[in-house]
Structure formats: structure tokens, C-alpha cells
């Protein structure tokens, strides 16, 4: 079993996609390579010119296509090669993170970090910590199997929201636990 991260008993190995900026984190990852810093092999890097280029759609699509965790990393504030790309990214992802959390996605599945071109060791730690964290959370089948759910769940003709002004299924909120008519997840 390679490098530092022991596999769990069940042998689940998370698939993590990393969206990184070309000037800082990608070069930092290169430095980690040249310094032969060993790290978990679960992460696949997608190179973008800047964190400013990273779009929330990339992350939802990656989850849809089977990623269990995401890393988004780029230049430290003020170090951006394009002056302000990371500032825009910081606002965009602060909002996106709260949205996903509100929708029920565990925020620790998505790791945000600043890694500069000279921080090879920090990149190794970001990778290893993210893999350990996501491995503990288990496979994110809940997201990629959403399409399957619709077929199995009973037609949700829940009466409670028909005709109610707010269109808000009050009962579904009040009920502790799973709202009626909601999906019975099929855990892998």
C-alpha cells in the first residue's frame, strides 16, 4: 500500500478531482514531484490558468460523474499571476460552499486552499488530508445516484403542499428525519 495513507478496512479509496491554477498550485505540485514527496494517489489534477477560471459547474459535474471529493487550490491572495483572479474565486466559492452546505452536501468533501509555487510540502499535506477526510466520509453515491432515486421513490403526491399559499411543505420540515415521499437512498 503506497505512501502514508493506510487503506480502511473496507478498501474504499475515494476518487478526488483537483482544480488547480497553473502558476502557483500546479507548479507547487511539480515541486512536490521534483522533491519526491510521497502522497496518496487518489487525486487527479485538472489544470486551469487561474482559480478565477474555476466554475461551480465544474464541481457539480465532477460530483455527478463520480468524484467523492474535490480540491480547489490556487495562488495566495496578492500573489495571483493575473492580479485578482483569486479574489473573485474567493467570493464565488464562499457563496458556493454555503449553498452546497445548505443543500445538504457535507462541506468537508470540498477542500479550498492556497498553495504557492514554493509550497510543495503544503500541497502534499493538502492532498493527504483531503484523501483521509473524504475516505472517512465514504463514497458520495448519494450525489451520483440521484437519477436512480427518482425511479424507485413512490410518486410524491404529498397532499400537504397543494393549495398552500407558500407552496412550502410545512409538514416535511416539521417531521424529524426524512420528509415523506423523499428518496430512500440505496447505499452502495
Amino acid at each position: 500500500m503506497d505512501s502514508t495513507t493506510p487503506a480502511t478496512a473496507g478498501g474504499f479509496e475515494p476518487r478526488i478531482t483537483a482544480f488547480v491554477c497553473n502558476w502557483c498550485t500546479y507548479t507547487g505540485a511539480d515541486l512536490a514531484g521534483t522533491s519526491r514527496l510521497q502522497m496518496a494517489s487518489n487525486v487527479r489534477i485538472i489544470r486551469l490558468p487561474c482559480t478565477g477560471r474555476i466554475d461551480p459547474m465544474f464541481i457539480t459535474k465532477a460530483f455527478e460523474r463520480g468524484a467523492d471529493g474535490i480540491i480547489v487550490s490556487g495562488c495566495h491572495p496578492a500573489d495571483c499571476h493575473y492580479n485578482a483572479g483569486n479574489y473573485h474565486a474567493r467570493r464565488r466559492f464562499a457563496i458556493f460552499r454555503e449553498l452546497m452546505d445548505f443543500l445538504g452536501v457535507d462541506p468537508s468533501r470540498i477542500t479550498f486552499s492556497w498553495v504557492s509555487a514554493s509550497e510543495g510540502a503544503k500541497w502534499r499535506d493538502v492532498v493527504n488530508d483531503a484523501v483521509t477526510r473524504v475516505r472517512a466520509l465514504g463514497p458520495f453515491t448519494a450525489y451520483r445516484n440521484m437519477v436512480v432515486v427518482q425511479a424507485t421513490a413512490p410518486k410524491s403526491s404529498s397532499p400537504e403542499h397543494a393549495g398552500e399559499g407558500e407552496g412550502l411543505p410545512m409538514q416535511s420540515l416539521a417531521a424529524d428525519g426524512v420528509a415523506p415521499g423523499a428518496s430512500k437512498e440505496v447505499t452502495a
Binding site: 503506497d2 512536490a32 502522497m39 492580479n83
Partner: protein, 673 residues
């Protein structure tokens, strides 16, 4: 239908050792669109590149994927090879299976699976690459050199001698940098002023060098070939045209007790001063924090002392002179801001730096640093070259030199070696021996690093012929008893603790970059490391370039450097700059954004997020000529290709060539379950 060629490199054993390259090549054979998938020991070698060319010609490839090292290493090589075989360079991409895979994993099976994944993502991406042609933009053939030390001077002279105009900006009143403070230089012991001042005069008299001394870079906009730099010419309170450098003003100035920065506080200077006799430009400067007139003005009191103005026959003193902001267009920038010495005091500029409580945090008299010793030994120094104790002016009979103060000491914050201290301490022992024949020099060292040409012989000479006592070990504590400095150390060769008395202690403190380097780096959007040294593009292959095109680095602002290094790097940057200016137009990566005029709604979010102002408004007119819609237009010359506009555009109407949504989407798909 795409016809992709995949070439997997063993990179000798760098990749081959942990990744089964043949399996990767086989693994990509079945990917739709791949018509050629091979592996080879050295893809970047000439035969390797020939393989790519042959495959392009024979199989009519429409895309090439080279699974090897980082694109930062050989993307240019393979793109040139592809172009050589008639395939558009931008249809060739690299899959990083070395730095991001083989080097960081040991489990061969996992590394191979990962390598196949990485290669497949790039294959999917290449399918959506479109041919691009390089953008040609005009180059302003004038260079800016920041920093007037030996590195800056050398770079400016070489560029100017190469026939191009140079603007040299120096923060201090005169150029010369730290080298002008030295007495002699190792390993030849020739006098620093004698080899430096001719170069300084050459800069001053060079027709193509515009010297802005006592000035700083205020802001930098633009990009390679088209930088717009604003320089703040700080007010000297002396009119440069009128002053003939007679120095009468400096004689009459009443405030003579100001510690001179040039003499590292050992000598004194007046409020209106010329830093050192050979200063270039030979212009006095009024220190507005110490001049009585300005101190009164600050308190709103009337002007009292105007002695310097009265003494000046040329009427050159101008107390109302203001800072001037000057904008210059340049095509390339050389950063040569040099170093400063680490101090052992209690409060440090950065919180990861610690002072030396063991040595009294710098409060013990007669404990000085290397530059101060240089000033004592220098003929133009405060003691006219005699080695005297700053506290009581006596000749020190016993001097103890301590190597590695701050350097190679992670607890204090600098884990690197400062490279020059072993040599200048050996030089100091020689200078001391020449001037105080019965003086005993003792050096506490860890190991002597004398790797330059003639360096080892120089340090052996200090030990064998000039009688320096070298003790391998560190000093654990130091304190003052009476007028003697007590040294408590350990001799690791004898295995014994040592307690000795010293009349003077010289600390070889670490080299750090100049304060404010991070602010300058941010203005230039150049990356720097945790100590503040500027990051070179590649430590071995591109040592004088930075990751920001058009910005080069020379001397001690990049890492601890001695004078030969600084001069060599300066000449290297000059050759890079002259190469850049060799042709009229500059070819630039065509990875710029382009707007889909059909779907752009004209909300101009893209304009708001663009850091370069590359987005313009464009009117769409109907046949009758009246404006139907106003949409965004990206000026390819100005766009730097960051892609923030594409991520912000709600309707995804703007596409960054090379990183379009389709390409990224296909990479994500390729990683799908």
C-alpha cells in the same frame, strides 16, 4: 473524427520505474479517437521527437498527447516538433505523469492506473482543441532595471551596450548598493571601490541609460513588451540641474549627529548629505525627517535654519520640491533589488523570525555585523580604515567571528545557507591581521563553504598563513564583563566547552531580501518564497527568468549571491532582454478569450472582473445601421488569458481558447466513473 497520437515517455527511469509505460500506451489504444499509442524511453530526445513527427505525417494525426513531464518543462519542445510536422502547435498537449504521478507514488499498480487516467483526460481535452495561431504584439524596446547595486548596474550597462535604452531606478540617494560599502572583496582582495566606481560612472555617462536615483517604482501595469511603469522620483530638495556637487551645503549643516546609513550607524552624517565620496549621482539629499527646517514645518512653525541654501552659490537648494510621478513605457523589467542583513534584535520584521537572546539581542557594545566591520576596515569609513572598537575607540587585540548567525538555523527562521559569509569572514581575518599584526582572530564555524573559484585556497590562506584560529562549534552565550566580552562556546573537535574573552565580536548574519520586496513583487505580480526571495521560473533551466513573462531577476533578491553570481546573472538577464527586443513584434500565446456574439446578453459582468481592461463594448448594427445590441468584445492583444470572465459569464458566451468549457468538461468526463 479525431485522429489522436499518444506518446508515453519513460523519461529514462523517472517515469518507467514506478509507472508501467507500456501498459499506459496499451491502456489508451482503445480510447475512441486514438489511432496511435506508443511508449519510448526518451520522448524529448531527438529520436523521440522524430517519432512524433513521423506519426503525424504517416497517420495524419489531428492531435498529439505526450504523457511525460510537466508542461512547464517540455510543452514548447513538443509543440515545436508538432508544428515542424505541419500540425498546429496548439493541438499538442502534455499529460503530467512524472511530477504529478511517477515521482510521488511508489505503488506501481496504483501509479499506472493514475497515469492512464491522467493521459485519458488530456486525450479527451485534445479532441476539443482547435488550431490557434500566435498573437503578434508590438514590443517597446526599452528596459527597466529596479535596483542600482552591482547587479542592476551590470544589467543596465549590458542592455545599453546592446543598443537598447535602459531606465535604472535606485531607491537610495546613490547607486552602488552594498558593494560600495565593502572595503576589499574576496577572493582577490582588490578594493571594492576601485572596481565598482568606474562602472558607476559608466552608468552615469551612458547615453542610453536614464538614471532615476532616490526613486521607487510606484506601479506597474501591462504585460510583456507593453509595461507601463510609474516611477516616484522622491524629492531631494536639491535641483539636479543647478547643483554642481561642490558639497558646500553639507559643510554648514548644523545637524551633524545623524547615524549614517552608509556607515551602518558607526559614522555620523549631516541632514543634507552625500552618502559617500564616490556617490553617483554626486548630488546631496536632504533627510526631511532630520532637517530642522522640515521638522519645524511639520509642527507648523516658521522656517528657521536655511544654512545650506545660503551656502549654495548655485541656488540649487529647493525646500518646496515635491515628489514627481513619471510614467515610462518599457518592454522588459529586471529586478535587482539586492539584500539586507538579518539583525539579532528582539523585535523582528516577520513573526517567524526570532532574535538572538543568547547574544543579548544586539545590546552588547562592540558586537557588530559583517557590513559594520567592512566600514571599519574601509579607508572611506568612520575610522579611516583603522580597526577600532565602536565603544571606546581602542584597538581590539582579540576579535571573535561567529559564522551562521540566523543562517542554517530553522528556529530563527532562516534554514538556508547565506553562501558568502564563510568567505567574507576569512577576508575579515586577513584584513584584521594586516592592520593589527599582534591581533588574534578566532572564528567559530560549523563547516566552511568555499566552493567558488579560488575560494578554498583563500580560506586556507587565512588559516595557514594569516594565523586565524578556526574553532568548529557554536557559541552558546555571550555577555559583557567590565569592558570585555565573555564568549561561552563549544569546540566539537576537542569535545570541550570553551570560555574566552573578546574585545570585539563580528556576527556573520544571514542575507535576507530587501524590506518591501513582497510589495514590489505584488506590483509586478511575480511570485516569491516564504523568505521574500523572488521565485525564478526554474531553478536549473531558467534561473534568471520569473514565471511572469518579460520580468527577469538578478542578484541577491533571488537568493543569497556573491558578487560573481550577481554579475553573471545580470549579464544573463541582459541577454534575455536583448533577445526579447531582437524582433519588432512579439509572439504571444494565443490562449485569450473570445466572445460568442450570438449569445452575449451584454450584461458586462466580464468587463467588471477583467483585471486588464481587455473587454470593450461593441455595437451590433442592423442593415440600416442603427444599433440593435451592445455586446462585449475581448481585445486579444490585451487579454492575458486568466479566464475569470468565462467563469463569471452567466450564459457562458465567452470562451478562453485553450481552456474552453468543452475542454474542461471533457476532462471531467474522462475522470468519470
Amino acid at each position: 473524427m479525431a485522429r489522436i497520437g499518444v506518446f508515453v515517455c519513460h523519461c529514462g527511469e523517472n517515469i518507467g520505474r514506478t509507472v508501467d509505460c507500456h501498459a499506459v500506451a496499451e491502456g489508451c489504444k482503445d480510447v475512441p479517437g486514438v489511432v496511435h499509442s506508443v511508449d519510448y524511453k526518451y520522448m524529448c530526445s531527438d529520436p523521440g521527437q522524430q517519432m512524433v513527427k513521423k506519426a503525424i505525417e504517416e497517420k495524419g494525426l489531428t492531435g498529439v498527447v505526450v504523457a511525460a513531464c510537466s508542461p512547464h518543462m517540455h510543452e514548447k519542445t513538443f509543440r515545436r516538433a508538432a508544428a515542424g510536422a505541419g500540425l498546429n502547435a496548439f493541438l499538442c498537449e502534455m499529460a503530467n505523469v512524472r511530477e504529478h504521478c511517477s515521482w510521488i507514488h511508489e505503488d506501481r499498480e496504483k501509479a499506472t492506473v493514475k497515469a492512464i487516467d491522467i493521459t485519458r483526460t488530456i486525450i479527451e481535452k485534445v479532441k476539443h482543441n482547435v488550431p490557434l495561431s500566435t498573437i503578434r504584439i508590438p514590443v517597446t524596446r526599452r528596459a527597466l532595471v529596479i535596483g542600482g547595486g552591482i547587479a542592476g548596474i551590470q544589467a543596465a550597462l549590458d542592455i545599453a551596450d546592446g543598443g537598447r535604452e535602459v531606465i535604472l531606478v535606485e531607491k537610495g540617494p546613490s547607486i552602488g548598493g552594498h558593494m560600495s560599502q565593502l572595503s576589499e572583496t574576496f577572493p582577490t582582495l582588490d578594493c571594492s571601490q576601485c572596481i565598482l566606481t568606474p562602472r558607476m560612472v559608466e552608468v552615469y555617462q551612458h547615453p542610453r541609460i536614464k538614471l532615476y536615483a532616490y526613486s521607487e517604482v510606484e506601479s506597474v501595469e501591462g504585460y510583456i513588451g507593453n509595461f507601463k511603469v510609474t516611477v516616484r522620483r522622491k524629492a531631494r530638495s536639491v535641483d539636479e540641474e543647478k547643483c554642481n556637487g561642490c558639497g558646500a551645503c553639507t559643510q554648514v549643516c548644523p545637524n551633524k549627529k545623524i547615524p549614517s546609513e552608509f556607515d551602518c550607524g558607526l559614522g555620523k552624517r549631516t541632514a543634507i548629505y552625500v552618502p559617500f565620496p564616490q556617490a553617483v549621482p554626486n548630488l546631496p539629499t536632504v533627510d526631511r525627517n532630520k532637517c530642522l527646517l522640515f521638522m519645524n514645518r511639520a509642527k507648523g512653525r516658521p522656517d528657521t535654519c536655511k544654512k545650506c541654501a545660503e551656502a549654495c552659490e548655485k541656488g540649487a537648494i529647493d525646500f518646496d520640491q515635491q515628489d514627481r510621478l513619471i510614467t515610462e513605457d518599457v518592454g522588459a523589467i529586471v529586478v535587482a533589488t539586492g539584500y539586507q542583513l538579518y539583525t539579532i534584535g528582539k523585535d523582528q520584521p516577520k513573526d517567524n523570525l526570532k532574535g538572538y537572546g543568547e547574544y543579548g539581542y544586539g545590546t552588547i557594545p562592540d558586537v557588530i555585523d559583517g557590513l559594520q566591520f567592512e566600514r571599519l576596515a574601509s579607508a572611506s569609513g568612520p575610522t579611516s580604515g583603522k580597526i577600532l572598537r565602536p565603544s571606546d575607540g581602542k584597538v581590539p587585540k582579540r576579535i571573535v567571528f561567529l559564522q551562521c548567525i540566523g543562517s542554517r538555523d530553522p528556529q530563527k527562521g532562516m534554514e538556508y545557507c547565506s553562501k558568502i559569509c564563510c568567505m567574507y569572514v576569512a577576508k575579515h581575518t586577513m584584513l584584521y591581521h594586516h592592520k593589527v599584526h599582534d591581533g588574534v582572530a578566532t572564528v567559530f564555524y560549523m563547516d566552511i563553504r568555499a566552493a567558488g573559484k579560488g575560494y578554498e585556497e583563500f580560506s586556507r590562506r587565512a588559516i595557514e598563513e594569516e594565523g586565524a584560529q578556526y574553532i568548529r562549534g557554536r557559541v552558546s552565550r555571550m555577555w559583557r564583563e567590565g569592558d570585555v566580552i565573555k564568549i561561552l562556546g563549544f569546540d566539537t573537535l576537542e569535545g570541550e566547552p570553551i570560555e574566552m574573552d573578546a574585545d570585539m565580536v563580528v556576527l556573520a548574519t544571514a542575507m535576507r531580501p530587501q524590506p518591501g520586496i513582497d510589495v514590489l513583487a505584488q506590483k509586478l505580480s511575480v511570485s516569491y518564497d516564504q523568505h521574500g526571495f523572488i521565485n525564478e521560473a526554474h531553478p536549473k533551466l531558467r534561473p534568471v527568468e520569473t514565471n511572469t513573462a518579460g520580468i527577469y531577476v538578478a542578484g541577491a533578491c533571488q537568493a543569497p549571491r556573491d558578487i560573481p553570481d550577481a554579475v553573471a546573472m545580470a549579464s544573463a538577464t541582459a541577454s534575455k532582454v536583448l533577445g526579447l527586443f531582437a524582433n519588432e513584434m512579439l509572439e504571444r500565446e494565443p490562449t485569450v478569450a473570445r466572445v460568442d456574439e450570438g449569445t452575449c446578453a451584454g450584461c458586462f459582468h466580464c468587463e467588471r472582473v477583467c483585471a486588464y481592461g481587455a473587454v470593450e463594448h461593441k455595437d451590433i448594427k442592423d442593415r440600416a445601421g442603427n444599433v440593435v445590441r451592445v455586446i462585449a468584445y475581448v481585445n486579444p492583444g490585451v487579454c492575458q488569458g486568466c479566464g475569470t470572465c468565462e467563469a463569471t459569464c452567466p450564459s457562458k458566451s465567452v470562451e478562453l481558447q485553450g481552456f474552453t468549457d468543452e475542454q474542461i468538461w471533457s476532462e471531467i468526463q474522462a475522470l468519470g466513473v
